[in-house]
């Protein structure tokens, strides 16, 4: 908790120092798939993250995971339950999993939330039409940070 507070201040500091947002194509993963550095330098908002995790066109994490802290109905069971995720993973690892879990779990079904390609026949959201040339990632950099902040509250 204390360490987090210090971290948060450090990030807030970085933010005031005109932190440049890291683009999806510029993200660097460590060997284990983790990402140490915040994508935005602005501390994540766990409440916003909870919304992103429950909302269909956004993270919709509950499509595949049970998260008991969320009230969203029909939580899926494709992936493991996320209860206690913060006991199992560090912040850097969670960031890596949300950005593109394929670096952590080879071949996983979990979609990359902050990824712009390469994809096979990318679509324009759920329209079935071809994606625009500049395909935005599913989540913004700040939404990723918000989800990570939310995941860090999941302790057992």
């Amino acid at each position: 908790m204390k360490r987090q507070a210090i971290l948060a201040t450090a990030f807030a500091f970085a933010a005031t120092a005109a932190f440049a947002e890291i683009a999806p194509t510029a993200v660097t993963f460590a060997e284990d798939g983790s990402i140490a550095e915040s994508l935005t330098g602005v501390p994540g908002n766990a409440e916003e993250g909870a919304k992103v995790a429950s909302t269909r066109p956004l993270g919709n994490c509950v499509a595949c995971h049970v998260v008991s802290a969320l009230t969203a109905d029909f939580q899926g069971d494709i992936g493991p339950e996320l209860n206690g995720a913060a006991d199992r993973w560090t912040e850097a690892q969670l960031r890596g999993i949300v950005v593109d879990a394929k670096h952590t779990f080879e071949g996983t079904m979990m979609p990359g939330m902050y990824k712009t390609g390469p994809f096979i026949r990318p679509g324009d959201a759920y329209t079935g039409k071809a994606a625009p040339a500049e395909l935005p990632p599913i989540l913004t950099a700040q939404q990723v940070e918000d989800v990570v902040a939310f995941l860090l509250t999941l302790k057992e």
């Binding site: 509950v62 069971d77 394929k102 079904m109 759920y126 079935g128």
Partner: protein, 286 residues
């Protein structure tokens, strides 16, 4: 209804009604006997070509709730019979510049179309892979001098429904060797390709996760032996290619068109994953 119940009450009620939730895993234990007389095989050992992928194949019917399963057990409850009735009428009706009906060339639908659905899609005399819709349109344009029907039009679904019913209870019987082999292989490649921004393949949902829940959806093996089928959610009949379009779109991908070469090849491969099951034409889904 939704507004009057609290969200949790609704969720709990819905979970009870529809059997959702992590507690439900795998296919139901139920037997499909239609009109108390036609028993249809909904579980079978997987075909040899699925070795290492699936041991057992299950009809999508087994993954649905008791309510929608019941609708398919009784033709009077099955909304697809509205389509079937219209298709049977169209079968006998002359159309086009030649003044001919389907019956003029094929005789009664019961005899002329028996077993046809079970073999679709198949390679035609010219070496092209055709779905049932292609055969129907070829008869209309070449032999009747009538206009082609659009793939997902009401007229087309009426006719494919009436024809499919003539194979009800017959085993899926698609050919995957000889001239069909190259089409089948391309369909297989598609099945395992991870399309779209979500990078999902058919196999991700229907091979690796059947029996699991993706949000409110209880995943089946994505078999096609029940098509064309009635989707209560859409309040309409759905063709095989229409279902494929929906699944590819849900992967945040650019879909292929209904009737495209790609989807005919995929249709052949997916049909072959159902070898061992029997044709249900015409099924009901939520």
């Amino acid at each position: 209804m939704m507004q009057r119940m609290s969200r949790t009450t609704f969720a709990a009620a819905a979970a009870l009604m529809l059997g959702f939730g992590p507690a439900v895993a795998g296919p139901a234990e139920d037997e499909l006997v239609v009109n108390d007389e036609i028993t249809i095989t909904t579980v079978a050992p997987a075909a040899a070509h699925l070795e290492g992928h699936l041991d057992t194949v299950y009809s999508g019917w087994l993954f649905r709730t008791e309510d929608s399963r019941a609708m398919q057990k009784d033709d009077f409850e099955n909304p697809m019979f509205i389509y079937v009735e219209r298709g049977l009428e169209a079968w006998d009706m002359a159309d086009g510049s030649e003044g001919k009906s389907c019956a003029d060339c094929h005789g009664s639908i019961e005899e002329g179309m028996k077993g046809v659905r079970a073999k679709m899609p198949k390679v035609n005399a010219g070496g092209a892979l055709w779905s049932m819709e292609d055969y129907i349109n070829s008869c209309r344009t070449e032999r009747m001098g009538a206009e082609a029907w659009k793939w997902n039009s009401g007229e087309m679904k009426d006719m494919t429904s009436a024809i499919s019913l003539q194979s009800r209870g017959m085993p899926v019987d698609v050919a995957i060797d000889g001239p069909a082999a190259e089409f089948w292989q391309r369909g297989k490649d598609m099945y395992y390709t991870r399309y779209g921004q979500l990078e999902l393949s058919c196999a991700n949902c229907h091979e690796d996760n059947y029996g699991n829940n993706i949000r409110a959806d209880h995943l089946s093996q994505g078999q096609t032996n029940g098509f064309p089928l009635y989707r209560l959610k859409d309040g309409a009949a759905v063709s095989i290619h229409q279902r494929f379009v929906g699944c590819v779109r849900d992967s945040r991908a650019e879909t292929f068109a209904a009737g495209s070469q790609e989807f005919r090849e995929l249709e052949l491969y997916v049909a072959s994953r159902g070898l061992g099951l029997q044709i249900e034409g015409v099924a009901v889904r939520p």
